[in-house]
Amino acid sequence: MLSVKNLTKSFNSPSGTVKALTDVSLDVDTGQFVSIIGKSGSGKSTLLSMLGALDTPTSGNIQVDDVDIAKLSSAKQTAYRARKIGFVFQQYNLIPNLTALENVMLALEFGGVKSKERKARAEKLLNDVGIKADQQRRKPSRLSGGQQQRVSIARALANHPAIILADEPTGNLDSETGQKIFELLHNLSRSEHTTIIAVTHDLDIAGKTDRTFNLKDGKLTKLVKS
């Protein structure tokens, strides 16, 4: 269960204080696939970074399984990210000089998985997302965009996270590949019972998620679908 209460995030800029998020509150049940839509600069990525403990809010709290992650120390936030959160980025963000397999093993290392178990586990994860054995030994530059995003999803799933945060996961893909990636995420939320929160511009994809929130000027203006 994810519960966000009165979340506010302000930034100081030369022109004064800018409120990226204002009094945002939402609840997401475990295993739900939720989408957040909004225009550029509406605060989608800021909300995602708060939920992923990448940044700390100015005020408000974020409860994940009864733990307020906004109040965790820096070290505990790092551990939280390693074990409870999986990230899927628009530009995949795989480490370029590591193979697909090594990228997934890296996340397993940070999650505290023993070195002997990492390889087999990474191979299984990559197989599950449709990356074949020969593709697993390739570096990201030798994989297609869709394949890289699959590797990214396998990396996000590595430590059985409670929540997967996806920032425009299909933004860099053609519609057909984007559809396949969406289906992969959708199936995962069902089979692994993993909560998925995806930020997207694609209203078609947003329409297929369990719930959709709309962010406008840092405020959660309306619940599009529930």
Binding site: S45, L48, S49, G52, L54, D55, A75, T78, A79, R81, A82, R83, F87, F89, Q90, Q91, N93, I95, P96, N97, L98, E102, M105, L106, A107, E109, F110, G111, S115, R155, N159, D167, E168
Partner: protein
Amino acid sequence: MNVISRGIKNSMRSPLRSGAIVLMLAISIGLILSMLVARSSVNAKIADVKSSAGTLVTINPAGINGFAGGGTPFTSEQLATIASTAHITSTTATLSDQLGSTDTNLTASLELGSFGERQQRFDNPEASSGSSTTTTASTTTRPAFTPRTSVTGTTDPNSVATNGGTLTISSGKTIDGSSSSLTALVGTALATKNNLTTGSTFTAYGKTITVSGIFSTGNTFQDSGIIMPLATLQSLTDQSGDVTHVIAKVDSSDNVNAVVSSLKTAFGDKADITSEAEQAAASVTSLSSIASLALAGVIGATIAGAVIVLLAMIMIVRERRREIGVIKAIGGTSQKVVTQFVTEALTLTVIGAIVGLGLGVLVSGPMTSSLVTSSQSSTNTSTNTRGVVPRAFERGLGQLNTNITQVTSSVTPQVFASAIGITLLIATVGSAVPAWFISRIRPAEVLRSE
């Protein structure tokens, strides 16, 4: 793959750039090693010069110079005064004499020549009286002059060596300078002339002397002479306790002037006292400037190396800002990221060090020689402009210059350890600032830059 192996692998991520960084580091580290070697060698030579040539004080009875001049030899009491002077660690005492044809059965090996005849023109009483009674008589009426054989009685036979080191004994064994035995070392030329070998005997001063060994100095005058224990010659010539030449060794070159001053006070005008301190000081000054130059080189090359690593790592960190953000976002701690980048810097530095140390070993010898040779030429120039160098020091000064060119440029374990220590310092300093940059990169930036 752990954080260390990732760091090592990352160091070769861009072979061209890594190669350039390694090359720059190698040149820097090679220069550091060369300068350390030069400094170490020069410092060793400075210590050597200070402890040998620069610490010798020569004391002659006033007016006596070898076999020439005139005056009264030192007595054993005066010798004791010299030996007991503060800072004098040892003395070598010598008594010089010459054997004429009536003193020995040996045939002198030295050709008299016109120079020798001129020196003896007053010595031959018949020639002298002939000259006075028949003032217009031709010199052809004079009896033939006879060459003489030099005899050196010394407490240290090595003092006769012309190379400033140990006397070369070509056969037999050396003599004990402190004994009073009837033994002698015979120069090769004299031995050849008289068919003397080890164990042979000859007569001198009415006594039978046994040849202990044959020595060779490469100097015709010396090789035509005889070396005996000091006490033996004193006894044979009825000059008990007499000494015509003393070389005193001072504990440090810093005390030479004080010793010379003390001796001059003690002996007044009865002794001629000179030291090599001035020449040694000139040599040491030029060597010291090389040591300072080498130290400046070490510091400069170290700073250059650290700056190379620093700039390279700052460039790498800035370039991989997003990657660092991703690693932190997926649960990598700052320590792990810093460790990975420090390992990367260390790998580049170690490769640079291996190449650089190899390079340094190759160039340190020629570089040290080059530095010392240029210094030596300036020393010679300054020596010549000072005017006439006393004959007694010509040999010592020549030896001093020879020593300078023989500065050993060997890479000692200490120098090598210093170079490795400096290399690690370069890697640490070069990584410290990038590590600070890494710690400041917030994982949220990975989303913000999307």
